[in-house]
């Protein structure tokens, strides 16, 4: 009885502590997001088209049911997932390799670590321009390089057809996002005590075995965070699509982010735009919880 009582008291004080510690962050987030989020939810439950002032009305979940029964939702959803799976795989694999490299001690490592951030630091407008120029079928740099290397005999328009357009969107997107993932994994690698490796070497473990049995398990928590973050980013992808393909050719790269943009800013249909954004948010949350349960919880058990 007594010990149970003590446990409750302890838990309560920890709860109060948690409240106090997390208050500033929660307040900042809430102050900025809560009311706008409420407005977005409100709009999603209304027929609210700015071009038809005076005709706004509450329609319950109709916007949602409209989307869920419309191929204009399911088709982009499928495209979004295709893109997100590709992007997350590329980003996670490459940034893991890069993080391992940058974790080695060698002269010049510091500079390399800072330079790694360059793609991320380029303003998005300039990044868009850069990729437009790299991929252009006439004056593009990649075409010139491939041609000189004899890989192609004629300049290619890689954005003109599937699947190459999707592949190149993933590449361009990943290039910009790999620095963040690498940075996180690199900091995660610092948590692995060096003596574990030393005893493994004494036991005769090879490089690959050490990676598989020490690095990977001990990096699991950070790796799962990176996967969750990158998945959230990728499911919301918009910028690179907007710039390189505008959803084309023939809707092949029409992702939900693009639909949200056109509904909200082009059709000025805030009801439809907000409700599809809520749906994407819910799907993303579901994915995040799923990934967390599978990846991160495994660490604790």
């Amino acid at each position: 009885m007594q010990s149970e009582h003590a446990a409750t008291r302890k838990e309560m004080s920890q709860g109060a502590l948690a409240l106090i510690f997390s208050a500033p962050a929660v307040l900042i987030i809430a102050a900025t997001i809560l009311v706008p989020f409420g407005i977005a939810v409100f709009l999603s439950l209304h027929n609210w088209n700015l071009k038809r002032p005076g005709r706004e009305r509450f329609i319950g979940l109709e916007n949602y049911t409209d989307w869920l029964t419309d191929s204009d939702f399911w088709q982009p959803l499928q495209t979004t997932f295709t893109f997100a799976i590709g992007a997350v795989l590329v980003i996670v694999i490459i940034s893991l390799l890069v993080a391992l490299l940058l974790n080695e001690k060698f002269p010049g490592r510091g500079i390399l670590r800072a330079l790694l951030l360059v793609p991320w630091a380029i303003p998005s407008v300039v990044n868009a321009l850069l990729w437009k120029w790299l991929l252009n079928p006439q004056y593009g740099l990649f075409n010139a390089i491939w041609y000189d290397l004899g890989i192609i005999t004629e300049y290619q328009n890689v954005l003109g057809s599937m699947p190459s357009v999707m592949i190149w969107l993933v590449i361009a997107y990943s290039w910009i996002h790999i620095p963040l993932a690498t940075l996180l994994l690199l900091s995660g690698l610092q948590t692995i005590p060096g003596d574990i490796y030393e005893s493994a070497i004494v036991d005769g473990a090879g490089l690959f075995q050490r990676f598989l049995y020490i690095t990977l398990p001990m990096l699991r928590s950070m790796l799962s965070i990176v996967i969750i973050f990158e998945m959230i980013f990728a499911l919301k992808v918009f910028d690179i699509i907007f710039v390189l393909t505008a959803g084309g050719p023939a809707d092949a790269t029409n992702v939900l982010g693009w639909t949200i943009y056109t509904e909200t800013f082009r059709k000025l249909d805030f009801g439809a735009g907000s409700s599809i954004a809520m749906l994407l948010g819910a799907i993303t949350l579901g994915m995040a919880i799923l990934f967390y349960v599978f990846l991160d919880r495994g660490v604790e058990q």
Partner: protein
Amino acid sequence: MLSSKKLIVLLALFMLLIGSVALAQDDGLKLTGWPYEVDVVTENLGRFTDQSGHDAVFLPFPSNEYRDKMVASFVAGTEFDVAYVRDSYLAEWAAAGWILPISGLEGADELLADLPAGIIEQMSYEGEVYGLPYYSGVQTMAYNAAHLAAAGIESPPATWDEMLEQAQMIKDAGVVDYPILMQLRSGENYLLREWETLTAARGGRLFDDDFNPLFQEEGSAAWQALDWLTQGLDMGVIDPASITDDDGTLLMMAGTTSFMTTTDYTLKAMNDPEQSNAAGDIKNALIPGTDEVRSGTWGYVRLYSITNNASDKDAAWQLVQFLGGKDATGVYYVPKRWALEFGLGFSPAPLYEDEEVRNSISGWIDPDLLSEQSEYAISRPYRFVPFFSDWEIGSWGPLQAAILGDADKGDVLAELADEWNELKDDWGY
């Protein structure tokens, strides 16, 4: 590691920087728009202040995001009194009540009397005029004369079939890989506009004056236009990049494209030796037609409108008159300046007869051909209904699929017509 003291000092420094940004709260008129020649606009505003006694300031925003910026600004309650507007979203802004009609305001009739009917139509929504023109013009054809000469071609094509033939000759002569660029990308500046050009130049239109779709009828000019695109792509003379390219002007300037339809003022950049590798070779020609139809095109207008939040409507109207019409001395000061010094297209009739203006643009475009081109401009009243962009956005994907041969043209066009008719009924047009 940084100590907490250093952190506090650092934070205080940043906060000081943030606090140091003074909010410019003046009571003058606020003009917003895209940042073309900001200093010239500011200079013009100085003249306005001298003449009217009203202070006015120009606060520009990036041109590519201007529309989105203004949507947010209007929803939140805009602080701008006068704003640049493109005809492509005039109907939406007017329907939302964000910009105000100028019809009936003092002096409006006199200024509107100087403007061609086509221009007024493109500044109107439901019978009211919403501003005065900043610059205007028509879509025309640009071609690379050096490419034609290298393939032994003497004059630019008069018909679309001839264009394919000439393009084949240019390709065969090894001058360029893909002589024709068509702007078929998704987006309000590309696919539909190109389709309208191709349709107009076959003597047709996408919709009639009662907003009934015409494109889905078998053998319609619009249908033929899509067939022509498919044919050109299959022949390998229309650049496959047409489907995604977002700036054909650059390809003309690179010297890798021989033909494109384009907005008149882009010829200036194409013939600017600093920007263009093809400077001097780019000429304008009439947009080709058919055996029966000589040519076809459409016009565009950028205009100045008074916003719904203008604090002093009289002063805002004075500013619009100054910018888009006459200044206090009774001359078209600002429009003439844009035309003379910057080659921007103008609308007021008196400027057409101005020798000075005519001569100033002849360095980079043939003014006679351009003025003939504008005679073939069709009117597009269907663009000035508020649901046009709702329909347009949904049309890009299916049209691209039809052009690329991934979908049946008849099916796509029938479905697009159905979608239009649904919207039309829904809006009560």
